[in-house]
């Protein structure tokens, strides 16, 4: 229970100084000295300790808890990954990199990795462009600005599980609304669940639907801090609205764009609920031929279907590496892209 820590330190501090409830572990020692020294000197010392140690006391619950529930499990995943470790039997023999070899040689691994990257690309690139455009529309003197902003945020309140179910039915191969709509305009139906690329497109649509408005608001916040006189100057130079947007707005908010790209990379590569709920078969592991299975689904599959926590950990660690590589790649790319546009502007 999280509150244990607080209660304990709080009691200790109270015992030390009735006036202050600062949870300082050092106060316990001070309370022992309290009887001997003169009262005012003791007070002064206490106050100095208070100033000196309070900051650490305030930040330590976060750091301690984060290390326990966030950092330690992630690091310990590497340890589990080099053991034969069963969900039921627990820790077995040390097997070195055998789990990694097994995972990489598994035919579903490469498939899931490619699916994950494909879904990620189909969702991130259009999403950034749409978010930018949407933020540009919102970055005007709208009447009832808050209502419009709430409106674009609406999909964000729908949980990924619900999104997966709803779009699974919208993209239904036989009775889905999308295929019916395609039929009304004379187009053939698409096998949204069985065709690999089509299924990736459907899942990417879910991600785009849920996150475009959210990211647009982040970009909008950055756009609003762009000095308005820049636009005046550009207008005098004869730049139209679109030109102002591409030459002033977008370059000015580049750090925020990079931030959005990197956070959506980290989230997007761990996608799980949407493809799982999109699957209408009983196994729910990404289609009959795993055509839309993702890396996180593979972690779940290894760990909680095959009950092999060693391989699940190896998969998690491989996904972690993939995330780092792609996030760094994004960062480098965006820097290069930035210098290119700058050079062009100077010319």
């Amino acid at each position: 229970m999280p509150h244990d820590v607080e209660v304990k330190t709080g009691d200790a501090a109270q015992a030390a100084s009735p006036g202050s409830s600062s949870p300082d572990p050092h106060d316990v020692r001070l309370s022992a000295r309290r009887t001997s020294g003169p009262r005012s000197a003791w007070r002064q010392r206490l106050s100095r300790w208070d100033v000196r140690f309070s900051p650490y006391v305030y930040i330590s619950p976060f750091f301690i808890l984060f290390l326990i529930v966030g950092m330690f499990p992630l690091v310990y995943t590497a340890v589990v990954s080099v053991y034969d470790w069963s969900l039921i039997g627990g820790k077995g023999e040390f097997v070195g990199l055998q789990n990694y070899r097994d995972v990489i040689e598994n035919p579903y691994f490469l498939k899931s990795a490619v699916n994950t990257i494909s879904i990620f690309l189909l969702s991130s690139v259009p999403q950034i462009l749409m978010s930018l455009a949407l933020a540009g529309l919102l970055d005007t003197a709208l009447r009832g600005a808050t209502i419009w902003r709430m409106g674009v945020l609406l999909p964000f309140v729908v949980a990924p599980v619900a999104v997966g179910i709803i779009f699974g039915s919208l993209f239904g191969d036989r009775y889905g609304l999308i295929n019916e709509a395609l039929g009304w305009v004379g187009l053939p139906s698409v096998a949204w669940h069985t065709d690999r690329l089509a299924s990736h497109l459907a899942i990417a649509t879910m991600v785009n639907w849920r996150w475009t408005g959210y990211n647009a608001l982040i970009l909008l916040a950055a756009m609003q801090s762009v000095p308005r006189d820049l636009y005046d100057a550009a207008a005098i130079d004869g730049a139209n609205r679109f030109r102002q947007f591409t030459s002033i707005t977008v370059p000015s908010i580049k750090p925020t764009v990079v931030f959005v790209v990197i956070t959506s990379t980290i989230g997007g590569l761990q996608i799980f609920a949407e493809p799982r709920m999109f699957d209408s078969t009983l196994a729910q592991n990404g289609g009959s031929d795993r055509q839309f299975s993702t890396m996180t689904m593979l972690i779940y599959d290894f760990g909680w279907h095959l009950r092999d926590l060693g391989r699940a950990s190896a998969t998690a660690w491989l996904l972690f590496l993939l995330i780092i590589v792609i996030a760094l790649g994004n960062y480098v790319l965006s820097r290069r892209f930035g210098t290119l546009t700058k050079a062009r502007r100077r010319r």
Binding site: P2, H3, S17, S20, S22, D50, S54, P55, Y58, I59, P61, F62, F66, V69, G70, M71, F72, P73, V80, L134, L137, L138, T140, A141, T146, G151, L153, L154, P155, V157, A159, P160, V161, A162, I165, I166, S169, L177, E180, G183, L217, I218, S225, R228, Y231, I262, T263, I266, Q270, F272, A273, R276, M277, S280, Q284, T296, I299, G303, L309, S313
Partner: protein, 272 residues
């Protein structure tokens, strides 16, 4: 320069929002008809009268009330804990001087990007060791603190609390913690509310971890929806009625507090 938008801007925004609402409407539409309606070539335009009977079937097939209670419990406990620890640490980073503060704050920012979800295996092993698997406490554990919470509160408090106010309280003889409680917390209240709402929502919609630690008879809302979806026989009227039911609480929360949501997302971003 005033940038008064024309009809085109309003029209595009309206179209976007209608497009955003359409899938939700579809969910309620199918969920309020009988299950045969989905096989029609042209779906009905208006909701039917079967929502309540479909909802009854949802309650008969999965422990939905229990799921609602569990989700409420998990999300509010996690949100409260994130707010308490985030405010404490955020205040220290924003207003107190101490050795190592810059390096530690950088650490917080970097950890915001760490995919902690990938640590599920050891977390599960520890929960199993403690005998917590299956209980809602296990579902709460990974969400009790977030680096985002600390950073968000820090960003807010840096500008919101004047240093003079802290000085004055100190001169008046307030202890450090008293100063925090009487000066910082009242000022921080709006940001605390936003962080609470935000965390509540993130935890409410979380799926991967609850799916791993919670059994079918003690689920959260998301895990219960998963059970509805994974039946042998696909009855979309039932499944989408359940999905609508699961979305309504958050939708209500959003309608009431949407302004705070918008403010929170925009505040968290500006200096990020």
């Amino acid at each position: 320069m005033t940038r008064r938008p024309g009809f085109l801007v309003y029209g595009l925004l309206a179209a976007f929002i209608v497009g955003s609402a359409l899938p939700l409407y579809w969910s309620f539409l199918i969920g309020s008809h009988t299950k045969e309606v989905i096989t029609r070539d042209v779906p009905p335009l208006l909701p039917g009268g079967h929502f309540l009977s479909n909802a009854q079937r949802v309650f008969d097939s999965v422990p939905f009330w229990k799921a609602l209670g569990n989700s409420l419990m998990v999300s509010s406990v996690a949100a409260t804990s994130v707010v308490i620890f985030g405010t404490l640490a955020g205040y220290a980073f924003a207003k107190l001087r101490f050795r190592g503060s810059t390096a530690l704050l950088v650490f917080v920012v970097v950890t915001m990007a760490v995919p902690t979800q990938l640590g599920v295996v050891p977390l599960f092993i520890v929960m199993a060791e403690l005998g917590w698997t299956g209980s809602v406490w296990a579902a709460i554990v990974p969400s009790i603190v977030t680096a985002f919470g600390v950073f968000f509160m820090r960003q807010y408090l840096v500008d919101a609390v004047p240093d003079e106010l802290i000085e004055a309280a100190r001169v008046d003889g307030c202890s450090m913690f008293r100063t925090f409680l009487t000066v910082a917390v009242p000022v921080a209240r709006p940001a605390m509310a936003i962080l609470w709402l935000f965390t509540f929502m993130m935890v409410w919609t979380d799926f991967f971890w609850p799916l791993i630690v919670l059994p079918a008879d003690n689920p959260t809302v998301q895990v219960a929806l998963n059970q509805l979806q994974s039946g042998y026989f696909k009855d979309y009227a039932l499944v989408l009625a359940g999905t609508s039911l699961a979305t309504i609480p958050l939708l209500v929360l959003f309608v009431v507090t949407g302004k705070q949501f918008v403010a929170g997302i925009m505040q968290g971003a500006v200096k990020g």
